[in-house]
Symmetry: C2
Subunit: 325 residues, 2 copies
């Protein structure tokens, strides 16, 4: 099977690493950049990775999306705080192609879908599939075109369904997964992208949020019994909200997350290397925080369904304050 | 009426200012100091005050309480984090005398009472009255023996009652109030010290706590609608707890705080000068925080009575983490 062509919209810690892996696997990859454009155009991309270092001295670099030729898959790896500009950043997408968001949080695919519908005419009636990929990875940008992949790397791939129901993976998703697997990237598909996003939020809401408010690494938080207790409370609120959402969208189907996730995630976080969350890195580097997709959207879902989430509410209020300052 | 004699246990921002006012008013005042002992013994105390600057070139300074002669009133103005050492810091107190805590928070008088009971034998059966004074003041130490009083200054004086019931002011309290009034310090007495302490906590829990967690002045907090909403929630939790306590200790007597306090306190805080709370000053200067008396004791009272206080719980967990680090 011949590989697909890709555009990487946002060549940062996530887009830079996975895009480089796809190019290394033989795919045609187009990288959209801003500040690092000149450096990457001249010197390419260098990856330090626990799975082996490599360099791509030549990559197809672009400073504006209108220069990118039509591709099969546009991979969105911007911070979600920039998603409101997405309609100006997407390249042409071939018929039958897709947009794949490798971003964190909730409501991302629906937001992309809304932006595309507004553009329907310019796109000549072709609306690409919208996919989401959850990245379980520690990757950082350490210089222009220079990325360090320090742990994990798995992707969980699912499709956006406007009806919010589970849906089986499409052939295109299989082809995308095959390209990543050549990377080699561990990649799986899921029937239920929304619940997978909720499950990732069970970790992300407490650890990302509190790492900023408490100015702390995962290790420092885990060493404090009071913070552990707070993390447990926040996780339970996320699970309660996810399960209310599952019951509302698919009544009686037992579409839910088990509360055993709490102990599993806490035990897992206790043994991983001390970890600075991406939200904390954004905060330390004075970048806007992904508060709305990671905490705001789950919170508003809870409020709309009448789920009691007092600690998530307080976390959102605190993060919004710190983000606005 | 001749004035009383006083010992100031902890000559900091509060003890230094009020002790100097009492000496200026003609009272006999003994100042217990630690780090500033030599400086104050040689150069006395200097006060910059919105009510007029003054200097006391000579004060009775002590580095240990055993050198202090018996006094009528021992004024405790330590940080409450040091109260566990109080039994070694109190001077002899004359028969019929009192201990007056000018400290913030809940459970302070009961804690002092417990410590004194443990000492009953050494004190030859004389247990002094225990009083509490709530200080509404902005005062800071700006150098050894040098204090700046920048706003307010009022004291609300009440007696500790082991039965937790309201009690009418004693003649001794009247004499103390008369000495302060000569200061001149605005001073009033209250029948209900515990409810006065709860009322002060309605302000202190949110503003002191969040000023540390959010690294913010009162002005910065008031400018953010989300934080204002969080402050409102915290205030309501404190009032709910206070009212449950009032009902538990004095059933059917309507011993409660009105919820209108919330709007009053927020409106008041909006118009005062930008203010760094004393807990924030402690945090910035790497001193232990008064987390237990200001947030921990109200929280434990709520838990013991089954009052739902999720945001106070989260605030306590966050402050404890920051305090322990």
């Amino acid at each position: 099977m011949s590989s697909l062509s890709y555009a990487i919209i946002g060549t940062g810690a996530i887009g830079g690493y996975y895009g480089a892996r796809l190019q290394q696997a033989g795919c045609e990859v187009h990288f959209l950049l801003r500040g690092d454009y000149e450096a990457v155009r001249h010197s390419g991309i260098a990856i330090e990775s626990i799975d082996g270092d490599f360099e791509l001295p030549q990559v197809k670099a672009y400073s504006q999306s209108t220069d990118i030729p039509p591709v099969d898959v546009a991979i969105v790896a911007l911070k979600t705080t920039q998603n409101n500009h997405l309609h100006t950043l997407l390249p042409p997408i071939k018929k039958g192609g897709a947009i794949l968001s490798l971003q964190n949080g909730l409501g991302i695919e629906a937001d992309i879908s809304r932006q595309l519908k507004g553009q329907l005419k310019e796109r000549e009636g072709t609306v690409p599939d919208i996919l989401g990929g959850l990245c379980f990875i520690c990757s950082n940008r350490i210089g222009p075109g220079h990325f360090r992949h320090s742990a994990y790397g798995r992707i969980l791939l699912g499709a956006h369904n406007p009806t919010a129901q589970p849906c089986t993976p499409t052939p295109l998703m299989g082809a995308i997964a095959a390209d990543f697997a050549k990377g080699p990237i561990a990649i799986e598909t899921t029937d239920d992208l929304p619940m997978a996003r909720w499950q990732k939020l069970v970790w992300n809401v407490p650890y990302s949020g509190l790492s900023v408010v408490l100015d702390a690494t995962t290790e420092e938080m885990m060493a404090d019994s009071g913070v552990q207790s707070l993390i447990t409370t926040l996780m339970a609120e996320v699970i309660n909200t996810a399960n209310a959402w599952g019951e509302q969208t698919s009544p009686g189907t037992n579409r839910h997350l088990p509360f055993s996730l709490i102990d599993e995630m806490i035990a897992h976080t206790e043994v991983i290397e001390p970890y600075r969350t991406s939200m904390k890195i954004d905060y330390d580097e004075n970048r806007p925080l992904e508060v709305e997709t990671i905490v705001g959207n789950p919170l508003r879902a809870a409020q709309a369904m009448g789920v009691s989430v007092p600690t998530m509410t307080m976390l959102y209020q605190q993060l919004s304050f710190l983000n606005n300052r």
